[in-house]
């Protein structure tokens, strides 16, 4: 598998990473190296093995439906770069 420059640019955009044109080629090579490394997995014979996403044998633990958290607005907002009154604020986004 090999990425071209356009795909590299698109991946950067999806990940919200700003890349200068000069950085593009180097990034493409790094990503291709990673993909090449991962491609080694394709050498493993998985004939007859059902698809899996992990080796976990445990199931998800569930919690009771109780209100046990929240009400910590001041602490939360204190960590935010920008706030106004009880709100976080961000540059205007309107679709």
């Amino acid at each position: 598998m090999s990425l071209d420059l356009a795909t590299t640019r698109r991946i950067a955009k999806l990940a919200r990473i700003g890349l200068e044109d000069a950085e593009l080629e180097a990034t493409r090579q790094k990503l291709n190296d990673i993909l090449g490394w991962i491609d080694q997995l394709a050498e493993v014979d998985v004939e007859g093995v059902p698809p899996m996403v992990g080796t976990e044998t445990e199931a998800l633990r569930q919690r009771a439906d109780k209100v046990t958290d929240g009400n910590c607005r001041d602490a939360l907002l204190a960590c935010a770069p920008e706030t106004s009154g009880p709100f976080y604020t961000v540059p205007k986004v309107v679709e």
């Binding site: 999806l14 569930q62 109780k66 958290d69 920008e82 106004s84 009154g85 205007k92």
Partner: protein, 484 residues
């Protein structure tokens, strides 16, 4: 006749599928212990998990899982004992994590069906593709500041069920019927309050058009339509737009659009080039969701009676028509009220009083079935008074109005106003004599063949007895007297 839109090149069929986001009724959020109450102070119902602080781990809410299973069972759907959560990645200010925890490849609920009923009485089955659990996003306010959007994360992390239909819907009316039916089922189950105004139920609408018999053409998705009426309007407007494009030799682009009810149009929200690439992958923070069949069975056994079976039972047990039964089961509280009135009484009479006088009174007094000025018990007692002939049907209306106004019991009202029905034939006979004496001309006409006047005499006798005479006895006595 099926629904089509007439274009210049002939009729077009519309193809619609709906994705409904239904907020799960629960105390706390899907993966955190923060409260879900609507309308709280901004950002007070936010935990460190919801605000996506580093190192926070999601733990799933047992009740949200139960609600999804109940809903699946209510939709006659397959419950998947193994499901998983995935991350749906996108960047937006209402989503602190940068991804939504959702279920992509392995949803908790698989295929099911909803039976919808149309105006003309026809029913249709609409397929359900799947139902999955996911997190809601926060809320953005754009009108507070010229350059800033304000963010309230109270809703962030609240559990949603996304319920996806097959593209089986062929008319705006069917889309409306589907949404009403789905909302009814959710309310009966108590899994979503179905309140579209508060946003606890929202619909994304997929629309395409085709000539009859063709395969599907390209569809557009209209996002976040927040009322049933708007969904129906949006479908028609969007289908008409697509027909115009096809008929002018163009191509419909697959894109996401917004419906503007004010202008009655849809417009592009984002085109294919900007389309999201969500890069779904299994959420490494969450193990597979594994359900015990025994638990599913337990939830199944505890499900309330749903609208369709209840309707059938009402028809059968109380001898009422399909239509009336439909009206009575529309809301569970109405169905319960009706059943309290009808039990052990004349079911048809009960139905006509509930859907007639009672509904009118609720309307007039601005009350609901829950706050009704007349309890089911009181209305039942009044029907008993009709049944045991203490009052007749006409006087019953007067008694009922008094009940609405004063809240008194029907017995007390009958006594207070002296409304007891006259069954004393002596009293009725003398009323008849008085009427005949007053109208010798009418009597003459009647006897010379004008049968229609019988009704006139009945009316006069009722008037003479201030409406309290037993109508059957009046009829009988009059007939004997007139035809003598």
């Amino acid at each position: 006749m099926s629904y089509v839109i007439e274009g210049q090149t002939g009729p077009w069929e519309i193809v619609v599928g709906l994705e409904v986001h239904a907020q799960v009724v629960s105390q706390s959020k899907l993966f955190s212990g923060a409260s879900t109450t609507f309308g709280a102070d901004p950002n007070t119902q936010v935990s460190l998990v919801d605000a996506a602080f580093p190192g926070m781990l999601p733990v799933i809410n047992h009740e949200c899982v139960a609600q999804a299973i109940r809903t699946g069972l209510g939709l006659k759907a397959q419950i998947n004992l193994h499901s998983r959560f995935d991350r749906k990645n996108y960047f937006y200010a209402d989503l602190p994590q940068g991804y939504q925890i959702s279920q992509f490849t392995h949803p908790i609920v698989g295929t099911g069906t909803i039976t919808i009923e149309l105006q003309n009485g026809d029913t249709r089955e609409i397929g359900i593709t799947r139902l999955h659990l996911e997190q809601d996003a926060g809320k953005l306010l754009h009108d507070q500041d010229p350059t800033k959007s304000f963010v309230d994360l109270n809703r962030a992390g609240v559990a949603l069920m996304e319920i996806v239909s097959e593209p089986d819907i062929r008319a705006p009316e069917e889309a409306g019927a589907y949404l009403r039916k789905l909302r009814q089922i959710l309310r009966y189950l108590g899994t979503c309050d179905g309140n579209m105004e508060e946003g606890s139920m929202r619909a994304d609408v997929n629309v395409s058009v085709r000539k009859t018999g063709e395969p599907f053409r390209t569809r557009c998705e209209i996002k976040n339509v927040n009322s049933i009426r708007f969904v129906m309007q949006a479908i028609e407007v969007e289908a008409t737009r697509q027909i115009e494009i096809w008929e002018n030799g163009g191509e419909v682009d697959q894109e996401t659009r917004l419906f503007d009810p004010g202008r009655g149009e849809t417009r592009t929200m984002r085109s294919k080039e900007d389309a999201h690439d969500y890069r779904y992958f299994p959420d490494p923070d969450l193990l597979p969701l594994v359900l015990e069949q025994a638990w599913v069975d337990e939830l199944h056994a505890a499900l309330p009676e749903l609208p369709d079976p209840k309707r059938a039972r009402f028809q059968h047990d109380y001898g009422i028509p399909f239509y009336d039964a439909g009206v009575l089961v529309a809301e569970q509280a109405v169905a319960d009220y009706y059943e309290n009135v009808a039990k052990g009484r004349d079911g048809r009479l009960a139905a006509s009083w509930v859907t007639g006088e009672l509904f009118a009174a609720l309307n007039r007094t601005g009350t609901t079935i829950e706050t009704s000025p007349v309890s089911a018990d009181a209305l039942g007692k009044m029907l008993d008074l009709i049944a045991d002939k203490t009052i007749n049907g006409k006087i019953a209306k007067e008694v009922f109005e008094d009940m609405v106004e004063t809240g008194d019991s029907p017995d007390a009202i009958v006594e207070r106003k002296g409304l007891r029905q006259v069954t004393d034939t002596g009293v009725i006979d003398s009323a008849i004599a008085a009427v005949l004496e007053k109208h010798p001309d009418k009597l003459e006409e009647y006897r010379s063949g004008k049968d229609k006047l019988f009704g006139f005499f009945v009316g006069q006798v009722m008037k003479e007895t201030k409406g309290k005479a037993n109508p059957a006895l009046v009829n009988e006595a009059l007939k004997t007297r007139l035809d003598a």
